[in-house]
Point group: C2
Amino acid sequence: MGNLVNVAVDGMGGDNAPGEIVKGAVDAVKVNDGVKVYLTGTKETIEAELGKYEYPRDRVEVVPTTEIIEMGESPVMAIRKKRDSSLVVALNLVKDGKCDAFVSAGSTGAVLAGGQLLVGRIRGVERPPLAPLIPNAHGVSLLVDCGANVDARATHLVQFAKMGSAYMKYAMGVDDPRVALLNIGTEEEKGNALVKETYPLLKASTDINFIGSIEAREIPEGAADVIVCDAFAGNIALKMYEGVAKVLLSKMKEVMMQNLKTKLGALLIKDSLKKTLKDFDATQYGGAPLLGLKGLVVKTHGSAKAGEVRNSIIQCITFKEQDVNGKIKQYLDL
Amino acid sequence: MGNLVNVAVDGMGGDNAPGEIVKGAVDAVKVNDGVKVYLTGTKETIEAELGKYEYPRDRVEVVPTTEIIEMGESPVMAIRKKRDSSLVVALNLVKDGKCDAFVSAGSTGAVLAGGQLLVGRIRGVERPPLAPLIPNAHGVSLLVDCGANVDARATHLVQFAKMGSAYMKYAMGVDDPRVALLNIGTEEEKGNALVKETYPLLKASTDINFIGSIEAREIPEGAADVIVCDAFAGNIALKMYEGVAKVLLSKMKEVMMQNLKTKLGALLIKDSLKKTLKDFDATQYGGAPLLGLKGLVVKTHGSAKAGEVRNSIIQCITFKEQDVNGKIKQYLDL
C-alpha cells in the first residue's frame, strides 16, 4: 500500500458535482489498483453518492468540508476566505504532502490561483502554465499556456517549451517531442513583439526539439507535439477548436436526423463515426495539468462527466511514476 | 454603361491562376450585368483562358502585364520593384480611379502592402484591417483584424469596430450589427493589456452596438456580427477555425468511405450534408475586404477557385452601390 498514488479530488467542483465526480472517483479506484482517492465535500452528500456503488472502500476516503467555491467568485478572495471549501482542503492535502495530486472540475480561476497560492511553484519557475492536451489528426498535442496569465514574457515561453517537452516525453510517452511557436506565419521575421523575441531564444535552446513557428491551422493537422504561446493566444486557439468542433458536430447530427432517408444513412455509418469522434474527444486524455507546481494540479472541464474525472485521476499515476516534476526541474536546470 | 462597377482582377495571383481566376471573372460578368472586369496578366495566357468561354466581350478587358509577384517575396520590396506586375497594375487601376475595386488571390502580404502603399488609406484611418467573413451556426460574422498589423493599439481596435459595423450594416445588410471584443472570458476585468484598455473605449462608443467580450468558442455559435481583435489573435482564431473544419470534414469523409455499409449510408445523407456544408463554406461570401482604403481591396484565399473569385467580384457591386466607404467615413467622423 506504500506505493499508492494519492489523489485529492474536489468533490463539489463543476457543473455535474458531486454525482459525476464521485462516480469518476469510484471508477478510477476500480480500474486501477495503484490509486487512492481523497474526496473532499459535504459529508452526507458525498456519502450518499458513494452509497450507490460497490468499490474497494479502503481506497476512497471522504474528507468532510463545509464550504463550496462558486463559479462567479473572485478566485483569490475565495481561496483566502473559504478555508474549509472542498477546493482549498483538497489543495492543502497536496501542500501538506498527504496527496501527490489534485483534480478539480471547479472554477478555472480558483484552481489556478489556489494551485499557485497553496501548492506553490517549484523554485525557479516564473509562471505555471495551464497545458491542455488537444487531439489532432494523428494523436494529441499540448497547448502551453491556456491559463490566466496573459501578457507573458519571452522567458516565460521558453520555460513553457521546456516544461511542455518534459510532460509530453515522460507523461505521454512522446519521443523527442516537436516544439513549435504559435505564430501567424512560418517565416522567422513574422509575428508580434513577444513571438519575435521568443523565437531566437527557443532556437538557441539545445535541450528541446524546436521546429520553428506554426500557424493555428497546423495544430489540428498534428504538426507539433508541444505548442508554445501566451495564455491569451492559447485560450483563443483552444476555445475556437472546441467551438468549431461543437457546432460542426451538432450540424452533422441535424443532417442525420433530417428525414427517414438520412436517419437510415446515419444508422449505417454510426459505428464507424463513433470511433472517429472518440479519437477527437479531448476528455479521453484527462484534464489539463498546471505545470511547474510542487505537486500535480489537474483542471478538468467544468462540464466533466465521470469518464473525464476517472481519466484525470488515472493520469496522475503516470505523472508520479515517471517523476514528471523531477524531469521538469532537469529541463529547467533547477 | 456609366453605372458599371469596374473591378480590377489580378489575373496571375493565387495557386489556381490564371485558369480559375479567368473563369471566375467570366462567370461574374455573365451572372451580373452591372460589372466590368479588368484582368491583369500575361496577355497570351489570359487570352488563351478567355478563349475557352462565351461571355459579353465588352465587359472583360485584358490589361497586359509582364511581371508576377511570387508567394515568397518580401511584400514591400515586390510592390516597389515589380511595377509591371499583375498585382501592382491592378491596384493602380483603383488608385487612378479607373476601377472601383480590386480582387486578388495572390500573396496576402503583397495585397496588404500594395493596398496601403498604392491605393492608400482614407485620411484619418490609423490602420486598415483585413476583415474576413466567417460562417457561423446562424449566418456570418466579420473578424476584424486578421491582417499583418500585429501589436495594435486600443484606438485601432475602436476604429476596427466602427468600420466593421459600417461593413456589416451596408455591405451585408445586417441591422444594428452586434460588436464584441474577442477575449478569454466575458467579465470586464479579464483579458490582456490591450483588451482591458479597449473595453471601456468600446463601451463609451454610442454609435456602435457593443455587446461586451466574447470567448472564441462563441464565434461559431454566432454570438456577434463584428468581432474585434488585434491581427495576431484574429489570425489564430481564423486559422484554427479553418484548420479544425478541414480536419473534421476529412475525418468524416474517411468514416463514410470505410466500407460498403458506410458508403451506402453516405449515399443516403449526401444531399442533406451538402447543403449544410455549403452553409459553412466561407467562399460563398467572397473574399476578405481590407477596410479603410480609398478604394475597395479584396483578398481571396490563395487556393480560391472560380466560384470564390466570382463571388468576390460580385461583392464589390454592393460595396460601391451602398457607398460603404462613405458610410465608413461617417462612422469614423471623418
